[in-house]
Symmetry: C2
Subunit: 422 residues, 2 copies
């Protein structure tokens, strides 16, 4: 099967685990392979309300059987969904463009920012990935590409609460270094003539390793971006739809208001739907300067899928569950980390948490090889998880949102037994 | 509803007809509005095998209820579909990347071309639109945008068989002028240092107005592109999956072999799925230089939808139908054009045909206003069609593929009565 895959799809297509999993079926927080073996899914955020949630399946099946066309005819689904969606944002974020992927959403958002500000420059972290279109991928520093670093791009240092610099004592010290780096990049863009169009950032720095941040961190970022004439694009592809537990959106959890928000992965529980939410003035300048049309974006099935997903998040109180399960899991993970010094720390929020795999608690030296061995061993024991972060050594626990205490108990029992014998 | 739309989606979102259609349901070649009024769909190519085709609906519903995850696990659907798909191409076009939209497909194809050739330059027609990502949209000359013309882009003259230049007598004369324009652009890219990476072109020049072409036209283009070290990307988003009747792919109909082929709209009968098919050497250089991953691309539901769509195309002999219905419709349209001189000509292939709306047969002067009045009147009479081409005056008849003689009779009876009273 791997040979067939390489012949048809080419070499180097990304795949998980030394012994890849051949999946056949999913249900809630569970997936099943070709031999019927069951895995506890602690990784996937796309099946946000659970694999094959019956209400989302039903909504997709019903609308697919009824009508599926582009949005140059009138249809109520897109309007109903846009209202339901924007109702979860602060009042100023009132307009929506639907796309098919988070990559397309970030691509559009960058264009909106340039049009709205009259500037070209974009600032991202120095360990970022926001999508695969050329305009977005060329900003990526986390994955290899041959696009070069564009002249209008600058970076700022990734906040890293676990690896403070020698001169730093507190998170506030770390924040000041990050902000100084941001100031430098803003100044460099000014001097280059590009100016600042946008800071594009995930409100929880998900790919960067979801560091702890001092209070008011993003307000300080926002002040600088605004002063330079730019806007903030919050990439909520990972942090959105209640993932952090205490709020529907990562920027609400991080306590700041962005100008543009991009959405993706969890939005339709697997159906390819994504979008951009922004202020009215930004939407107007975009729509008056660019004839944007997306054939599959805003189609009635995409909207039905997204609407059903949002309804389940709300009706099943999945934010509460993320909050409570997340807190329970943090406690369990902390207990484990006291026994196994390979677990360097515990961090995260809601149902997005993890621990750095390190050589020792004292050195805090990342041990990515140990991390890889760990997630491969967990896979063999029927638990799916991943690694992320600056050093590829951060255990990523980011399960479907209905993940509960019972599931957590199974995860940590397995993790304990694997750690005990490694 | 329009006010609600503008408030939520912003101004200037594209919409069809002076009196927009509020659609509720689709079935085969028919769609139904909120009042239950039935429309004959002579426009939509996304519901390729017919609106809500039961076999595609069933495939999507079944797979959505079974499993829908990203492609970093193993799943057979993507491999099965890649085999079914590449079997319809010449042997050299053997590798596939799945994306969600035709825009993403063209975005990837341009990157592949740059990596494979070591050049940057791209040539498109002077009346082109190939998609909405920044990298693709900035090449567009057909729709307004504020991205500017990139330094690595050149155009060549759109072939226009109906509006020959004063010096031209034959299609071959027209072709020589187009090829001279291409030579100029290739030379200009060479001098600029960009060199030629790709000529990106629709094999039937769909957006340009599907002109008649002399035999061997694309072979002459290909010779020049190859000599300059570039590759040809055939954008089959509109021309593919049997649309031209006599062949599965537009490039087969146009009798040349491209290096890269991009697919979109009709691929999953409305499910957001698209892709790139290319030679093995091109896929290898791409995959070794760029870490491309698309979360929703190649998901099991997308592949199930695409596989079911391809199966219906083959099992229901929709190429034959496109061929026969298309020929029948050309005859009917020619008979009409003899009676109504506002119909300037008849052209197209398979189920993609049309006629230029002109002020007079002698002047051939485009009459876009008359064209708009015509399609609006047709809409009121229950027939949906569009306009396209260099002067926005070309009737576009591009129905779902099961469109048959009976449907054609209704279309032309309505067209006759509308023309008679205009």
């Amino acid at each position: 099967m791997l040979a067939r895959r390489e012949r048809l799809l080419g070499p180097n297509t990304p795949i998980f685990y030394d012994n890849p999993v051949h999946l056949m079926r999913g249900e809630g927080v569970w997936v099943f392979d070709a031999d019927g073996k069951r895995y506890l899914d602690c990784y996937n955020n796309v099946p946000h309300v659970g694999h094959c949630h019956p209400q989302v399946v039903e909504a997709i099946a019903r609308q697919t059987a009824t009508l599926n066309v582009h949005s140059r005819y009138l249809h109520e689904n897109v309007l109903d969904y846009a209202e339901q969606l924007t109702a979860t944002f602060d009042a100023a974020l009132s307009c929506v463009v639907m796309t098919c992927t988070g990559s397309e959403a970030n691509d559009v958002a960058l264009r909106m920012a340039a049009t709205a500000t009259g500037n070209r420059g974009v600032i991202v972290t120095d360990h970022n990935y926001h999508g695969n279109t050329t305009a977005v991928m060329q900003l990526a520093t986390l994955l290899p590409h041959d696009l070069g670093q564009p002249a209008h791009m600058r970076t700022f240092p990734t906040p890293d609460s676990y690896h403070l610099q020698p001169s730093e004592q507190t998170l506030e010290d770390m924040a000041q270094r990050v902000l100084a780096g941001l100031d430098e990049s803003i100044e460099s863009l000014r001097q280059s003539g590009h100016g600042l169009a946008a800071l594009l950032v995930c409100p929880i720095f998900a790919n960067e390793g979801f560091p702890d941040l001092p209070d008011g961190f993003f307000e300080q970022i926002k002040k600088r971006v605004r002063a330079a004439g730019g806007v903030i694009i919050a990439d909520e592809v990972q942090s959105g739809f209640g993932r952090c537990g205490s709020a529907m959106w990562g920027h609400q959890y991080a306590n700041f208001e962005p100008d543009i928000v991009t959405l993706g992965k969890p939005m339709g529980n697997g159906y390819p739907v994504a979008g951009v939410v922004c202020r009215e003035d930004i939407m107007h300048s975009f729509r008056h300067n660019t004839a944007y049309f997306n054939t599959f974006g805003a189609n009635p099935v995409a909207c039905a899928a997204a609407s059903a997903t949002l309804r389940v998040v709300q009706e099943e109180n999945l934010l509460d569950n993320a909050m409570q399960s997340g807190q329970y899991m943090q406690q369990k993970l902390e207990l484990l980390s006291e026994r196994f010094p390979v677990l360097g720390d515990v961090r995260g929020a809601g149902l997005f948490l993890g621990s750095e795999i390190v050589e020792s608690r004292e050195s805090r030296a990342p041990d990515a090889a140990h991390g890889r061995a760990l997630i491969n061993a967990m896979r063999d024991e029927g638990v799916l998880m991943g690694l992320i972060g600056r050093f590829d050594n951060l255990l990523k626990i980011r399960p479907p949102m209905p993940f509960n205490r019972e599931h957590a108990d199974q995860l940590f029992e397995t993790l304990e037994s694997v750690l005990a014998r490694m």
